[in-house]
């Protein structure tokens, strides 16, 4: 599936849209980290919580549960939350 990458993570992916796979967000992040080592820890902390300023949108809906199921046709947006001036 297509995953949109925010600008702070372009140093890992080199492009703003990448292909990755997984039956859940957890699996998707594992695949992203396999392709782009180190990316996951910048987004998810060691307690498997989404870091404060990062957000996931799937087909336009915000998702907070990393166990959320995914389909190959889903569009996943990893977003840098607007926070602060």
């Amino acid at each position: 599936m297509k995953v949109l990458i925010p600008s702070p993570l372009l140093s890992y992916t080199g492009k703003s849209e990448v292909d990755a796979s997984g039956a859940t967000l957890t699996e998707l992040l594992a695949d992203l980290d396999h392709q782009y080592p180190g990316l996951r820890f910048r987004v998810i902390n060691e307690q498997d919580q989404i870091r404060p300023h990062m957000r996931f949108f799937i087909n336009g809906e915000q998702v907070f549960d990393l166990a959320h199921p995914l389909r190959t046709t889903d569009a996943v947006y990893l977003v840098q939350a607007l926070s602060g001036g």
Partner: protein, 412 residues
């Protein structure tokens, strides 16, 4: 301070159980006359390296590195003179460590940055899971332990790497110990940018002899390589009305060990300036000898590389609401040449009024030249240095972001 150390120059281990009180300061000579100084500047928006000429008069600026990253500490490994570690995060992304094996020409991210363990099943609910917000402090280990590093984090945690900073393991005996967690307090008890584990010190005579400090949470010592720690707070004062016997109330800001006499340490604390001479366990408040109108509150503490009687501080205004600015807007360093009995103001070249910046705990350091060069970075993004141990100051860079840490390294 980070100097290149050769294995042959280190002493055999002798300290752990009964530290030897042997003053060496008069026998250690400067060996750095042919070495160049690199000043490593970590800021709120990136890192810079300033390469000095042999006379320390002109400086070549290399940077920014990691523009936009919050760099809390940038340290050159004195054991090889090439490896740099940078403690980084951004406003949005989690923390990490970047490593360079060529003094900053190229960088590679750590495979496993410092991170706390997940709580064990059935863990005490009073000890909630924690996540590292940022790595705050980096210390290369002993000359005889190449590739070993220590890291201190916020929230407070102690970590160790044995592969040059690529992968990091937590010290569970500190990070997950109920007593230590109680002493660390909560984020509500912390300094404005989060509670810090800092001042990780390795005895140059023995890699198993360690110190670290927590803001808040006191000073701690290990003589068995970190398998166990004991507190070292006797003589340290706390804010009026609180119990000095309670470790949680102690707020060391910066602790430094004297390279020329590793039995002597100096400390800048929330409640004054202290010295301790091991094997005594008693800190002595030498800051009471500072001028009363200035006081003895501040963050950085700098020791002389060859004279254990000499140390520098940079006082700040810690009255009322803690403005954290230079007292009266008149910045100055102070030096003692006799272990804290007397202090001398050093402000020649610094602004004489309306300068409302200050110097953070990691943002002042010394090189190993003779005379010693001193360096400090300000909260307003200026980098100052003195080639004569503080007699005269010169601004060597300005308009940088807020400076968080300054280290000096000496290279050939």
């Amino acid at each position: 301070m980070a100097r290149i150390i050769k294995k042959a120059a280190t002493r055999k281990k002798s300290l752990p159980k009964k530290p030897v009180r042997k003053k060496q300061s008069t026998t250690v000579r400067a060996k750095s006359a042919t070495r160049r100084v690199i000043v490593l500047v970590a800021t709120r928006k990136g890192a810079w390296l300033l390469h000095g000429d042999a006379a320390r008069k002109t400086w070549r600026v290399d940077g920014p590195h990691f523009l936009g990253h919050i760099i809390n500490h940038l340290v050159l490994d004195p054991r090889d003179g090439r490896t740099l570690l940078a403690a980084a995060k951004t406003g949005h992304l989690g923390p990490t460590i970047f490593r360079s094996a060529d003094r900053g020409r190229t960088w590679k991210e750590a495979t496993k940055p410092p991170a706390f363990e997940k709580p064990a099943d059935g863990a005490d609910a009073k000890m909630p899971a924690r996540a590292v917000d940022h790595t705050f402090w980096l210390t290369p280990c002993h000359a005889n332990e190449p590739n070993v590093w220590y890291a201190g984090t916020s929230p407070q945690g102690l970590f160790r790497s044995e592969d040059g900073g690529d992968t990091w393991q937590p010290f569970s005996c500190i990070n997950d110990d109920p007593q230590y967690r109680a002493w660390m307090g909560s984020v509500q008890d912390s300094t404005p940018d989060g509670p810090k584990l800092h001042s990780i010190i390795v005895d140059p005579r023995d890699p198993a002899h360690l110190y670290f400090a927590m803001s808040g949470g006191g000073v701690h010592e290990s003589v068995d390589g970190g398998r166990s720690f004991t507190t070292l707070i006797a003589g340290m004062e706390v804010v009026g009305g609180f119990d000095a016997a309670n470790v949680a109330f102690h707020d060391p800001h910066c602790v430094r060990l004297c390279p020329s006499n590793p039995d002597r340490l100096y400390q800048q604390n929330h409640c004054g300036i202290y010295r301790i001479d091991r094997p005594s366990n008693q800190w002595v408040r030498i800051g009471k000898n500072m001028p009363k109108r200035v006081g003895d509150i501040g963050f950085p503490m700098v020791v002389h590389p060859r004279d254990a009687d000499t140390a520098w501080v940079f006082p700040m205004d810690g009255q009322t609401v803690w403005p954290r600015t230079s007292p009266d807007g008149k910045p100055a360093a102070y030096v003692t040449r006799n272990g804290g009995k007397r202090w001398q103001r050093l402000d020649v070249g610094l602004p004489d009024s309306q300068a409302w910046w200050t110097v953070k705990r990691q943002a002042m350091t010394a090189d190993a030249h003779d005379p010693v060069g001193l360096y400090f970075g300000t909260t307003s993004g200026e980098l100052w240095m003195s080639r004569d141990e503080g007699k005269r100051w010169t601004c060597i860079a300005r308009n940088l972001p807020e400076i968080y840490a300054v280290e000096s390294a000496e290279v050939r």
